[in-house]
């Protein structure tokens, strides 16, 4: 066996210099993200949400403007839980961004999120200094921006992420899988019972957002 080993390594060795190699290639985050994005889209769509993907944070503003144009919802949006891509919307010329609490019915809310779970098609919102829990329920349209690193695979991955936060956890953590609906007025269910009539999710692609 030793002879064979020596003989084989002698041949193989000529095809790769003996000093330790550099790190082997890792699993592409883009591939992992694309798989999750596909699953998320299928699940969230089943929950009556709509989903689009954009390659980088720079695409978020135009994607929102296109969506609002298509649904004839005007250009005015309220921002909440501003992650990087959401904060950047202030510079989007086609949107008029409002600060402060979401007013009466009819408003459009654009918010970041804590995470999203592909297997269940949910976005996860957490209350805090920059997000009032009720905003996501008072708005008529809620647009949620999910950054690449926030798209998790399963509920279990979400629990891990929550465990990593400092205790106590945020006051109100909501897993949202579509618009508000009710079956109390017969079937099929009707949308917009108390909360939003429309939930639109923008998944920002697997490439780390350009700084």
């Amino acid at each position: 066996m030793n002879t064979a080993r020596t003989a084989m390594l002698a041949v193989i060795g000529r095809h790769g210099a003996p000093p330790a190699p550099a790190a082997p290639p890792v699993m592409s985050t883009e591939i992992v993200w694309a798989e999750r994005a596909r699953l998320f889209t299928a699940q969230a769509t089943a929950g009556a949400a709509t989903v689009v993907t954009v390659p980088t944070g720079a695409g978020v503003g135009p994607a929102i403007a296109d969506y609002l144009d298509g649904a004839r919802l005007g250009a005015e949006v309220h921002l909440s839980a501003p992650t990087r891509a959401v904060a950047g919307l202030a510079l989007e010329p086609r949107l008029s961004c409002r600060a402060g609490p979401v007013p009466a019915d009819g408003a459009t809310l654009v918010s970041g999120c804590l995470a999203a779970v592909a297997a269940e098609g949910v976005v996860v919102l957490a209350s805090g200094a920059t997000h009032a829990a009720q905003a996501a329920f008072l708005a008529a349209t809620h647009i949620v921006v999910v950054e690449a690193g926030q798209l998790l695979e399963s509920l279990e991955a979400l629990w891990q992420r929550l465990r990593a936060l400092p205790a106590p956890l945020p006051r109100q953590i909501s897993l949202v899988c579509g618009p508000s609906r009710t079956a109390d007025l017969g079937v099929p269910s009707r949308l917009g019972a108390h909360g939003p009539l429309r939930v639109h999710v923008i998944l920002v692609g697997g490439r780390p957002a350009a700084r």
Partner: protein, 475 residues
């Protein structure tokens, strides 16, 4: 409390004669089983998940004291207060006391079966507080002064015409045409309730689960009303049963995967919210006070008994939706807050068997409830146990007892048994008529089973009796 004039057979007859209720139940029979199985078929290994769910619930119940204390510790650490209530009266006093101390006048609620059980609304109204239910179905029946007829769909017994008429009576607004369209009703209810939400001083919710690991009260809805009830008023009170606690977030994940699939045939409800304590320093909004009332009201008496298993129940309603008795008569006939198979097991424990003896009897013991239960509660066995208790305690109806005694006597006297059976078989054959497809059928009997024969017939007995065949069998 059940009205003293309750009589299960009379209420069932009334329910069978209610066309709107019957239409809803028919829809339920047609749709719910298919929706549920389709949703569960989407799970890679439903059986394993169900087993894990049963284990999670059993583990929490076996160590209930430990996990409740753990839960309390987390809630207190987050700035909340936990109250313990042995009875309905204690729970109502605690909640009313909190409202009064806060100087509250208007209370909003999201649907909670525990608050129905303890009659919280009546208790608060008796103290001069205005209470508004915000789950649409619960709001409708509150306007009508009715009780829920299903644990998830409280207004199941009502049709659009009745709901429209209710809104016309209670919502003050200009109308040019009667309210007939569901979309318009929704817009109207949404607007009415928005105003109520904004003006409320206290919000009361139940909890689908309590998570000991993080101190979360978990609210599951499709409407999102519980989230607003929890977020808008200055005080949020959670009123829930002690059995709702689970150990970890992982347990919660297991149960969430099964809850909506079993309940409505969807993978997850629109909103699942984990609430931890009051608002934090620096938070943009949220209630300043957070209280949890842990209600016993008869639950702890089931611990360590053969009936402990019913405490696993996660109130998904699958056993109601699949029950041939529930889907024939609906929830009001049961005369109790909880209906269907789970209600027939729980209610005698909460209200005493003497006044609820008909409920465990109202089952064919077909076993579908146990089959569909996401936490594998042996409902038929528990129903049989209540029946045995009823017989031992002399609580069954005299006619039923006499019939059972006659049967016992016949079954232990073979000669008389053979004679009686032979006579019945001959009589039935004489009364049968030839059927179009061959053979003979019974179309009616002179003194028995008029209800049955009104809509169906029976095959006539044919061939020899089992005993005769047994005697003449080849050795």
């Amino acid at each position: 409390m059940t009205p003293a004039d309750m009589d299960f057979p009379a209420r069932s007859r009334a329910a069978l004669a209610q066309p709107t209720l019957q239409r809803s139940l028919q829809g339920m029979r047609r749709m719910m089983p298919a929706l549920r199985s389709a949703a569960l078929a989407g799970l890679p290994d439903h059986a394993a998940l169900r087993e894990r769910a049963r284990e999670s619930r059993d583990h929490a119940l076996e160590h209930l004291g430990h996990y409740l204390l753990e839960y309390e510790r987390r809630v207190v650490a987050a700035g909340g207060v936990v109250h313990w209530a042995r009875t309905a009266a204690e729970a109502n006093d605690i909640v009313a006391g909190l409202c009064e101390r806060a100087g509250a006048r208007r209370v909003i609620k999201s649907k909670s079966m525990v608050t129905e059980e303890i009659r919280l609304n009546e208790a608060l109204e008796a103290r001069g507080l205005g209470v508004t239910e915000t789950d649409l179905g619960e709001y409708i029946i509150q306007l009508r002064g009715e009780r829920p007829s299903h644990i998830l769909a409280p207004a199941l017994h009502l049709g659009l015409a009745e709901i429209g008429a209710t809104f016309e009576r209670h919502h003050r607004r200009e109308r040019r045409a009667p309210l007939t369209e569901a979309g318009e009703m929704l817009v109207e209810a949404r607007a009415e309730l928005r105003a109520v939400f904004q003006a409320a001083d206290v919000g009361i919710t139940g909890a689908n689960f309590l998570v000991a690991e993080t101190g979360a009260a978990v609210l599951v809805t499709n409407e999102g009303n519980a989230d607003l009830v929890a977020a808008l008023p200055a005080m949020h009170i959670v009123v829930t049963g002690i059995e709702k606690v689970v150990a970890t977030l992982d347990d919660l994940g297991v149960l969430l995967r099964l809850l909506a699939r079993s309940a409505i045939g969807e993978s997850l409800s629109s909103y699942t919210t984990l609430v931890h304590g009051p608002r934090r320093a620096g938070d943009a909004a949220g209630p300043r006070e957070f209280h949890v009332v842990l209600v016993d009201n008869g639950r702890s008496a089931l611990l360590g008994t053969s009936r402990q298993e019913i405490l696993r129940c996660i109130r998904c309603s699958a056993c109601l939706n699949h029950c041939p008795v529930y889907t024939a008569i609906g929830g009001h006939a049961y005369g109790s807050v909880y209906s269907g198979p789970m209600g027939a097991v729980l209610t005698p424990a909460f209200e005493g068997l003497a006044r609820t003896v008909d409920l465990p009897a109202a089952s064919t013991l077909c076993g579908r409830c146990e089959e569909v239960c996401p936490v594998a509660i042996p409902l038929p066995r528990l129903l049989r146990e209540w029946r045995e208790d009823a017989l031992r305690g002399g609580l069954t109806r005299p006619a039923e007892r006499r019939a059972l005694r006659l049967w016992q006597w016949l079954a232990t006297h073979p000669v008389w048994y053979r004679f009686a059976l032979g006579a019945v078989v001959r009589a039935l054959r004489l009364m049968s008529v030839p059927a179009p497809g061959g053979g003979r059928r019974l179309r009616h009997l002179p003194w028995f089973g008029q209800g049955w024969f009104a809509v169906r017939d029976l095959p006539a007995p044919q061939g020899r009796t089992f005993q005769a065949q047994w005697r003449s069998r080849e050795p």
